[in-house]
C-alpha cells in the first residue's frame, strides 16, 4: 500500500490522499508507534538476564509501552538482540529479522552483540551488524537496566527524528550473509 512517490506515507493517506486530517492521523500514528515498542527479546546470554531485570518490577520497561514482549517476529517491532551471537546463530538471527514486518528497528544490547566484545574468537560474530542493520548500540557488559532503557529512549528519539526528516531506514533485502563477508572470511580474514 505504499505510495512510490512518498514511501514513508501511511496507508491511510494513500487511500484518502494527503489532507490535514490524515496528516494529524499520521502524527498520532507515529506517536503511538514510538511509545509502544514491542520488543522481540532475542536473548542468548547474560544480557538476557539484565533484560529480564528490565522487565521486572524494579525497572519495569512496561512504563515505556513495552508491556508485551512478543516472542514472535510477526508481532513485534523492535528486535532487541541481547547476548553473544555466534556464527551458528547468525542465520537464525537473519531469518528472524527478515520475518519481522516493517517498520522495524534493532537495538543491539551489550558488548557482544555490538562488536563481539572480548570474544575475538573462532565462533563469535564480531557484531550483529555483519548481518543486520542496527539502529541503537547499547554498550555495557551487561548494560545496566537503566542503560538499556536509555537506549530505548534514544531509539524513540531516533524514530521521532527520522519521521520528521521523512527518512526510514531501509532493510537489507538479503536472506544470505553478505557474499563479500563470506569471501573475506573464507580467505582467512580474522577481522
Amino acid at each position: 500500500m505504499s505510495n512510490p512517490k512518498n514511501p514513508t506515507s501511511s496507508p491511510m493517506s494513500n487511500m484518502v490522499g494527503e489532507s490535514w486530517v490524515t496528516t494529524k492521523l499520521e502524527v498520532l500514528e507515529d506517536w503511538a508507534q514510538r511509545n509502544s515498542f514491542w520488543p522481540f527479546p532475542f536473548g542468548t546470554a547474560c544480557c538476557a538476564i539484565e533484560f529480564m531485570s528490565t522487565v521486572s518490577s524494579h525497572y519495569d520497561v512496561a512504563r515505556f509501552g513495552s508491556e508485551v514482549v512478543r516472542f514472535s517476529p510477526r508481532q513485534s517491532d523492535v528486535l532487541l538482540v541481547a547476548g553473544t551471537i555466534n556464527d551458528k546463530m547468525a542465520p537464525v538471527l537473519k531469518k528472524i529479522y527478515d520475518q519481522m514486518a516493517d517498520p522495524k528497528w534493532v537495538i543491539s544490547m551489550g558488548a557482544c552483540a555490538c562488536s563481539g566484545g572480548f570474544y575475538r574468537a573462532y565462533h563469535v560474530m564480531q557484531g550483529i551488524d555483519e548481518v543486520i542493520p542496527v539502529d541503537v548500540y547499547v554498550p555495557g557488559c551487561p548494560p545496566t537496566p537503566e542503560g538499556l532503557i536509555y537506549g530505548i529512549l534514544q531509539l524513540k528519539e531516533k524514530v521521532l527524528r527520522d519521521r520528521r526528516k521523512h527518512a526510514r531506514h531501509d532493510a537489507k533485502e538479503q536472506s544470505e550473509p553478505d557474499k563479500e563477508t563470506i569471501e573475506r572470511v573464507d580467505a582467512g580474514s580474522t577481522v
Binding site: 557484531g127 548500540y137 554498550p139 557488559c141 545496566t144 542503560g147
Partner: protein, 225 residues
C-alpha cells in the same frame, strides 16, 4: 513439615534434610480442597495483598522510575571511563600501555608522544577506547600506575553507529576534582575510610535511596537559582 532422619548405620555423618513428597504416597490422591482448586485462593490472596499495598502505599513500590529517578549505585560502580588530569589541565596518563595490555578485550588504543617535561617522559597523543568492545571489567583501572584512568558511575551510553562509539581523549578527560558524586571504580576510595568509622545504620532500601538522591538534586538545582 520437615523431617530428618539418620543415615545408614556404620558411618558418622550429619542428618540429611528430607521432606515428604506427594509421590511418596502411592497413589497420589489430592485432598478434598485441592480437588476443588480452592487452595488457589491462597495465591490470589497473596497477589491481592501485593496489589492493595502497592495501590495505597506508594512507598512500597519497588519500581525505580528511570529517567526521572536514578538508582543510587555505589561509588565503586564500573561505568564510563575518565582520564584524569593534572592541575594544569593536561592528561595524567604517561602512555605506559599497561591499561592496553591489561584489557582482556583489547579495546584501548594508545599512540604515545614525547612530553616536553623530562620528568614526564611521554603522554598519549591518541587515547581511544572502543566502548562497544569494552566489557567494563575495571582491569585498566587496576593496572594504571598513575591513577590516570578511573571509572565514573555513569551508565547512560547509547550510540547510533560504530564510529560514535570510539571515544577519544577529549571525551574521556575530566578534572580529578570533578563532581565526586559521579565517581565510580577507582584504585583508592578515600570516602570509605571516613565511612568506616561512621556507618549508616538505617535502611538500605534502594528506592528510598534513589528518591533521596533525587531530592538532593532538586534542592541543589533550586539553590543554584
Amino acid at each position: 513439615m520437615i523431617q530428618t532422619t539418620t543415615p545408614p548405620t556404620g558411618s558418622p555423618g550429619r542428618p540429611m534434610l528430607r521432606s515428604p513428597h506427594p509421590a511418596d504416597l502411592k497413589p497420589y490422591r489430592p485432598g478434598f480442597w485441592e480437588r476443588l482448586y480452592l487452595p488457589l485462593f491462597i495465591g490470589l490472596m497473596v497477589t491481592l495483598r501485593h496489589f492493595l499495598r502497592n495501590l495505597f502505599n506508594p512507598g512500597s513500590r519497588y519500581t525505580i522510575e528511570y529517567p526521572e529517578q536514578r538508582r543510587n549505585y555505589s561509588h565503586r560502580f564500573r561505568g564510563h571511563h575518565i582520564l584524569t588530569t593534572r592541575p594544569d589541565g593536561s592528561v595524567r596518563c604517561v602512555a605506559c600501555f599497561l591499561c592496553a595490555q591489561a584489557c582482556p578485550a583489547e579495546c584501548i588504543h594508545i599512540e604515545a608522544g614525547e612530553h616536553q617535561d623530562e620528568n614526564i617522559e611521554k603522554y598519549p597523543v591518541v587515547y581511544e577506547i572502543d566502548m562497544l568492545r569494552c566489557v567494563f571489567c575495571g582491569y585498566c583501572v587496576d593496572a594504571c600506575p598513575e591513577e590516570a584512568i578511573i571509572m565514573s558511575n555513569n551508565y547512560d551510553m547509547a550510540y547510533f553507529n560504530r564510529e560514535q562509539s570510539i571515544v577519544g581523549k577529549g571525551d574521556l578527560m575530566k578534572p580529578y576534582t570533578f563532581d565526586e558524586e559521579q565517581l565510580g571504580y577507582r584504585p583508592r576510595f578515600p570516602e570509605e575510610d571516613a565511612k568506616r568509622s561512621r556507618m549508616r545504620r538505617d535502611a538500605f532500601d534502594l528506592v528510598t535511596a534513589a528518591k533521596e538522591a533525587q531530592a538532593r538534586e532538586e534542592k541543589k538545582a533550586a539553590a543554584a537559582h
